[in-house]
């Protein structure tokens, strides 16, 4: 797929994806709001600039792999895949409904473009590791990206993967930490503290890059091949605002696991439209 380099265009796509997230969640009547909105910029960067992939040929052998480990934020992945051309955007309105390819948590066999099935937390990073290991065995240049959440780092399976990836120096793997400081029961540092997460990954022998996960320029720089270190896997800690773009959802863990009502959706879409106009006018930071 042709890569978009103009960051303003990318920001507009991220805004469109946020609007699609709100619409699909409202229609679904259940699902997660905050996480998907927070990760819209990262997903936009991956699918419209960073990754090699072909929406018309999802099984393309030279594609880069994207593993969504925190499967519950799939509304952002679905909206991104639809906007990239993997399936008709109208299908986003079938989210979580009977017979839909857009299952409540992503199911690979249901929808072309998904690299795995996820939802139960903690297992995506290991799968990404297996992919990276297998690709390297065959000297294939494909990169593997894995999005994992901070709450998910409560799981032991994640730390098993962190050890394994470092041991095997899987530098074709880039993990991204969706660091939004919320999980279902509250703030991550109250539920099960993760900080200092940067130091933890450094101690595990990873190449760690910390960025503002809602800043398109910083995301692109962090994910560019130039930032890769030979022999070290990369962890991009993407600090971001959960619920980004919708004032009443931002940084509020109560929006982790619920969709907006029709009324709330209208306000949310109006706010996102305001931000879209700001991007067009070149005023958005």
């Amino acid at each position: 797929m042709k890569k978009i380099k103009d960051t303003r265009k990318l920001k507009l796509i991220a805004n469109k994806i946020r609007q699609d997230i709100i619409k699909s969640l409202t229609e679904a009547g259940s699902g997660h709001s905050a996480g998907p909105l927070g990760m819209a910029d990262v997903l936009t960067a991956l699918y419209f600039n960073v990754m090699e992939h072909d929406p018309k040929n999802p099984g393309w052998g030279k594609r880069d792999y994207f593993v969504l480990s925190n499967g519950h934020i799939c509304p952002v992945l679905y909206a991104t895949l639809a906007n990239a051309g993997y399936f008709p955007e109208a299908e986003l309105m079938t989210l979580r409904k009977l017979g839909s390819r857009l299952q409540g948590h992503p199911h690979r066999a249901a929808l072309p473009g998904l690299e795995t099935t996820s939802g139960p937390l903690g297992s995506g990073l290991s799968q990404a590791a297996g992919m990276a290991y297998g690709l390297r065995m065959d000297q294939r240049p494909n990169r593997v990206f894995c999005l994992t959440s901070d709450g998910e780092h409560n799981e032991g399976n994640i730390w098993e993967a962190v050890l394994f990836i470092a041991k095997n120096k899987l530098d074709n793997l880039t993990a991204i930490l969706d660091r939004n400081y919320i999980q279902i029961d509250g703030n991550t540092e109250d539920v099960m503290p993760l900080d200092p997460v940067k130091e933890k990954y450094l101690a595990f022998n990873w190449n760690v890059i910390e960025i503002d996960g809602n800043n398109m320029e910083e995301i692109l720089t962090a994910l560019s091949p130039a930032k890769r270190l030979s022999g070290k896997p990369a962890m991009v800690i993407a600090r971001n605002v959960p619920g980004k773009g919708v004032s009443f959802m931002e940084n509020n863990y109560e929006w982790h696991g619920k969709p907006p009502t029709q009324e709330q959706a209208e306000i949310a879409l109006a706010e996102l439209e305001y931000w879209r106009e700001k991007i067009v006018a070149g005023e958005e930071q």
Binding site: E115, T116, S123, Q127, G130, M131, D138, G156, N157, E160
Partner: protein
């Protein structure tokens, strides 16, 4: 009568019958697969020697992946390897894998439809002195409940090699169960083996004994002894528990009208459970299950434990008589 078409060894009940643990068959099967297909990779969780993954690791070090003591990571890394075209085999003791990583197997292998093979070693009570923590008695149940999973319990080391090779050639998740102790080698190269196809090792008209794993041999011993009492038993090696070969079971049970199942596993959820479910729906007949009676194992010598937990040929004979009593009361 022993079924000649099964090509079992000539001196089937001889005192000097050769013995080998079924895990040896796993190791030998892996080597054969590794030679035939460069995409076969083997993973192990710090039990490389005792699971016999070592046979492969020694021969193909570049295709062997040491995971360390992390079973959840092992199966999920395997899922990722399968995603890029590899054929991963993972091994640990069955209590740990699939015991500890069931949900990962469910989501990232079965539901995700990844071509991963799971070897559960040291299954059953015959693990011996290590005790109950290391004696997997629930693994068949765990794996049998999963959609998309094939479950195989080979009866000796020869069949274990064939089973390993066979699951390597299908593009589906599979679980194969192995034992630690040496058990009689009573099948041969020529003994038929096909996934999903139960084999009738002995024909009889009075009762059908359906067994899996190394207790198939105990079932044959029981049948031989029962003959002296005038009871003719059919003995079926039901190595594939899922998909269950209902056709072969039904054909035998229609002739005999009574069934005894035999396995080194809890009587719920394993072979006995599978056969009981199938026959209850399709052809209800008196049925007795030889297996572990809803309890945990303990330390001891393997033969002592098999005796204590009621898994020897004399226990099978006893269950046969109970099944026949029920049949005759009808």
């Amino acid at each position: 009568m022993t079924n000649k078409k099964m090509y079992l060894i000539d001196d089937l009940y001889g005192e000097n019958i050769k013995q080998a643990p079924t895990r040896d068959g796993y190791g030998n099967g892996l080597v054969a697969l590794g030679e035939a297909d460069r995409n076969v990779v083997v993973l192990c969780a710090d039990l490389t020697d005792s699971t016999r993954s070592k046979y492969f690791a020694d021969k193909f070090p570049d295709r062997f992946i040491e995971i360390g003591v992390a079973e959840q990571n092992m199966v999920t890394v395997a899922s990722g390897l399968a995603a890029v075209g590899k054929i991963p085999f993972v091994a640990s003791y069955a209590t740990f894998c699939p015991g500890r990583c069931w949900e990962q197997i469910r989501t990232t292998i079965c539901y995700n439809d990844r071509n991963v093979k799971i070897a559960g070693a040291h299954a059953g009570i015959s693990v011996g002195p290590d005790g109950a923590t290391h004696q997997a008695l629930e693994d068949i149940a765990l794996m049998r409940a999963l959609p998309n999973m094939v479950v195989v319990v080979p009866c000796d080391a020869n069949e274990a090699k064939k089973a390993t090779i066979a699951v390597g050639k299908i593009k589906k998740p599979a679980y194969v169960r192995f034992t630690r102790e040496k058990t009689p080698l009573f099948t041969t190269e020529k003994t038929p083996f096909q996934l999903g196809k139960a084999e009738v090792y002995r024909d009889g008209k009075d009762v059908t004994i359906i067994a899996c794993g190394s207790l198939v041999y105990q079932a044959l011993l029981a049948a031989k002894e029962l003959e002296k009492d005038g009871v003719e038993a059919t003995v079926i090696n039901c190595h594939t528990i899922k998909p269950l070969d209902g056709k072969t079971i039904m054909k035998a049970v229609r002739q005999t009208g009574a069934v005894v199942t035999v396995e080194e596993h809890q009587i719920t959820g394993g072979l006995g459970g599978a056969v009981a479910e199938y026959l209850s729906e399709n052809y209800p007949v008196p049925l007795k299950r030889v297996g572990v009676q809803d309890r945990f194992g303990e330390s001891g010598a393997p033969d002592e434990l098999l005796k204590k937990f009621g898994l020897t040929y004399t226990d099978i004979m006893e269950s046969v008589k109970n099944a026949l009593r029920l049949k005759n009361e009808r």
